[in-house]
Amino acid sequence: MNAFTQINPPSTGCGNAPVLKQRGQREVFCGLTSIVWLHRKIQDAFFLVVGSRTCAHLLQSAAGVMIFAEPRFGTAILEEKDLAGLADANEELDREVERLLARRPDIRQLFLVGSCPSEVIKLDLSRAAERLTQAHAPQVRVLNFTGSGIETTFTQGEDECLASMVPVLPETEAEQLLLVGALPDVVEDQLVGLIEALGVPVVKALPSRSADVEVGIGPNTKFIVAQPFLGATAGALTGRGAQHLAAPFPFGEEGTTAWLRTIAEAFNVSPEKFDEVTAAPRARAQKAVAAASERLSGKSVFFFPDSQLEIPLARFLTRECGMTALEIGAPYIHRDLVSADLDLIAEGPVLSEGQDVDLQLDRCRAAKPDLTVCGLGLANPLEAEGLATKWAIELVFTPIHGYEQAGDLAALFAKPLKRREGLTL
């Protein structure tokens, strides 16, 4: 058998680069924000945040546009009397859940989502979930996870959610690949299509779009993660005996090829078969990235921490789009998941974990990047100071994985630059 063609790593990557850790104000979303896309992905699930008016206001504001097709999420707002006695809070919660499920008989999975206040008052949502599962089985399964800002940052909410599903997955002996991460349906279908074309027998996705799709797990399950922020989920799956396939993330042509190749190798797919399946989409992706990244080539980029997508995206921008990374900030660095990407980024950029936003803004202003990737709270102020910015949140809400989206991904970064060039003001 011929060998697979491997990627050329830089002579020195960022794998062992020092990490700048500062402690100060963190300008990031909490994990509750993940609900904005999770509730669209899992179509028979409802996400009930047990929290404060702030939680409800965050969800409404983060959604940006309100999703008025009655959203499958809501907030049980704690009131003064709930804080006084926890017994009452549990009773109130049971009552609200009962009312909710009566109104929404289509709901099959209910997630009780912990928040900062529910955690500070130590409201035990795992016991509540057990109690409510017993009360509403078999029609509804009730799970719980935390989306609180004291425990989670932005995309970690999805990680906590998926990790909460792992213990209740049924046991299976089947040899299969589990694709982990809430991807847009179109992307999931494309990736599953490619993996099936490689000849991998069974491909399942976590989360599945509905509770009716049986997803099992066991010693013959291999899993690959599609999002770099799913560390806890990966740990939980490994704990259930599944085998983690570590790979760079499927962003850009190179990332997608490396990611698929890891699967191919794990399932003994021949290099010939691999080339046969991937040659055409690879060529398309290369062409699209080349066209879309013309404006990016030779430009510098600075990442503020946001979604944990920063490291794989910096790899894509530096290796495939010709950009130079000045700083790559991430809220957390899960080495188990992103080391393959780190190794592929040539040394040079500042690698930072966590945040002191004021100090980081000082560094950003001094570095004068051509493009700054940051959250919504910082974008307009930085634009007003003359810096071109890309809203990081769009990277979580837009299909960007895989070959067919590689060009779109480059275009997302190129657009702010294109706009600046196009405007005469």
């Binding site: 008025f68 804080l83 919504l376 974008a379």
Partner: protein, 513 residues
């Protein structure tokens, strides 16, 4: 515990942020976990502000809870002072920090900072955004204002405008020009664009204009007691209210009753002109914050010739005046912050138009009822680039245009009645000046198809016979809901159990107006 999907108001600390962000030279140190920083985007994205709100969040994490969140707060306070050099600082806690009881007020006091530090007590589990703004502004006035001499000429303060307010920026410009036409100069506008030094000299004004009671009534009452400054009670939104406001100002300022230049005002003629005949008796449902809802009710009835069929507000603090206003209109006010309840009320009333907030705009979309936005909560669309005040003469003009825009206009309404089967001039095409809204019209068709089942429909024991149902569909969409409701009501009253074409037209004659 209360299940909430969408909220009209944020938590009280967001109200405090609206005051802090409006002002200059003031900084807010907020004891809060990291996720609470989302509030920055309200200002930078929705309002397109080009600066970060002047807020430092302590962003404590779970691991800090076991150790020392109090020290973290003090460090944040010191860092904020060193970096931003504010003239004054407000300190407080968000909902989570309220639970850990670190006492930001006491902690900051112990630090001996060389500028005034104003502690805020905003109970997150009881109160909401407007209360937060009002209380914060009041505390700032109390802490920073000092007795000063009145200005030699007659001046006033304009109080109430904040960041993220519904048209506050433009209202201040319009109101200032009206006051100028009366020969009254503005001493201080606050909180919008005011510095702590400006707050200090509030007392120099001869009286205060209470522009938005939601955010400044408490402060106005305190200033009245403390500095003997009277304040205006009329909010000048609408033609009549603006005239009343001017009369009130003249009385307070002791001005002679001379005519005021209102040559910019167009609403009265636009409303009298024959093209507006079709507005007569349009049934409108009004919902918003108390101040804007009450103002809209008066404009709708007296200045547009609408019939107000529903009135309400989401801020309970203003329940009393809203109830009184509704009573005068022969209505029962809807006081609720539950948008599902508001939706149910609108669905039951089947108004021809909604004057509401962004929430009601979405409700209107779902129900196929046109809606104009009159009040916060705000959306990026509520910060138009052009000058669009709500108060004063220009405000009245803006309101006329804004309210008329969603409606199907004059002769077009008749043509829709006459040629209902025209392939491109049918219901689903909607108003012709809303070319871009076709998808909404399509949605409306889906809703109608879902509800207008071909089989006889039984409701309240009344059955629609097939031919009556068919006839009903010949009535244009924007009055069909009302026709259906009236016919059913008529049938029930008459003890008729099945509705025929005859019943439909009997009902039409019965309700003719």
């Amino acid at each position: 515990m209360k299940l909430t999907v969408w909220t009209y108001e944020g938590p009280p600390h967001v109200g405090a942020m609206r005051v802090a962000t409006a002002m200059k030279g003031l900084h807010y140190v907020l004891h809060a976990p990291q996720g609470d920083t989302y509030a920055d985007l309200l200002f930078t994205m929705i309002e397109r502000r080009d600066h970060r709100p002047p807020v430092s969040y302590t962003t404590f994490q779970a691991r800090d809870l076991g150790s020392d969140t109090a020290t973290l707060f003090k460090e944040s306070c010191k860092d904020a002072f060193d970096r931003f050099k504010p003239e004054a600082i407000i300190v407080g806690a968000s909902c989570t920090a309220e639970l850990i009881q670190d006492d930001p007020g006491g902690l900051s006091e112990s630090m001996g900072l060389p500028v005034p530090v104003i502690p805020l007590e905003l109970p997150s589990y009881q109160r909401k955004e407007n209360f937060g703004a009002s209380e914060t502004f009041y505390e700032i006035c109390r802490a920073l204002s000092t007795p000063v001499e009145r200005t030699p000429e007659i001046t006033c303060n304009i109080l109430g405008p904040t960041a993220l307010g519904f048209r506050h920026r433009d209202d201040v410009v319009e109101l200032s020009s009206i006051l100028e036409s009366l020969g009254i100069a503005v001493n201080v506008v606050a909180p919008l664009d005011a510095t702590p030094a400006d707050i200090q000299r509030l007392g120099a004004a001869h009286f205060n204009v209470m522009l938005y009671p939601e955010t400044c009534e408490t402060a106005c009452r305190w200033l009245e007691r403390e500095y003997k400054q009277p304040f205006t009670k009329t909010v000048p939104i609408g033609v009549g209210a603006t005239r009343d406001f001017i009369a009130e100002v003249k009385t307070i300022a002791g001005l002679p009753d001379i005519a005021v230049d209102d040559s910019r005002l167009r609403l009265p003629w636009y409303s009298r002109s024959v093209d507006s005949t079709y507005l007569t008796g349009k049934r409108v449902f009004i919902f918003g914050d108390g101040t804007h809802a009450i103002a809209a009710a008066r404009i709708a009835k007296e200045e547009m010739g609408f019939e107000v069929v529903g009135l309400g507000c989401y801020n309970r603090e203003f329940a009393r005046p809203v109830r009184a206003c509704a009573k005068e209109l022969g209505l029962e006010a809807l006081i609720s912050d539950d948008y599902l309840e508001v939706e149910a009320a609108i669905e039951a009333l089947q108004p021809e138009m909604i004057l509401g907030t962004q929430m009601e705009r979405h409700i209107g979309k779902r129900l196929g009822i046109p809606c104009a936005v009159i009040s916060a909560p705000v959306h990026v669309q509520d910060f138009p680039a052009r000058f669009s005040p709500q108060v004063g003469w220009e405000g009245a003009n803006v309101i006329f245009d804004t309210w008329v825009h969603p409606l199907v206009m004059g002769l077009e309404e008749h043509l829709l009645h006459m040629f209902r089967e025209d392939f491109e001039f049918h219901d689903d095409a909607g108003a012709s000046h809303h070319g871009s809204h076709t998808p909404a019209a399509q949605k409306r068709r889906v809703i109608e198809e879902a509800t207008d089942t071909p089989e006889p429909v039984i409701k309240d024991g009344v059955t629609w016979l097939a031919d009556a149902e068919k006839e009903l569909r010949k009535i244009p969409f924007f009055v069909r809901g009302k026709a259906r409701r009236n016919t059913e009501k008529f049938a029930v009253e008459q003890g008729v159990t099945s509705i025929s074409i005859e019943t439909l037209y009997e009902a039409k004659a019965h309700y003719a107006r």
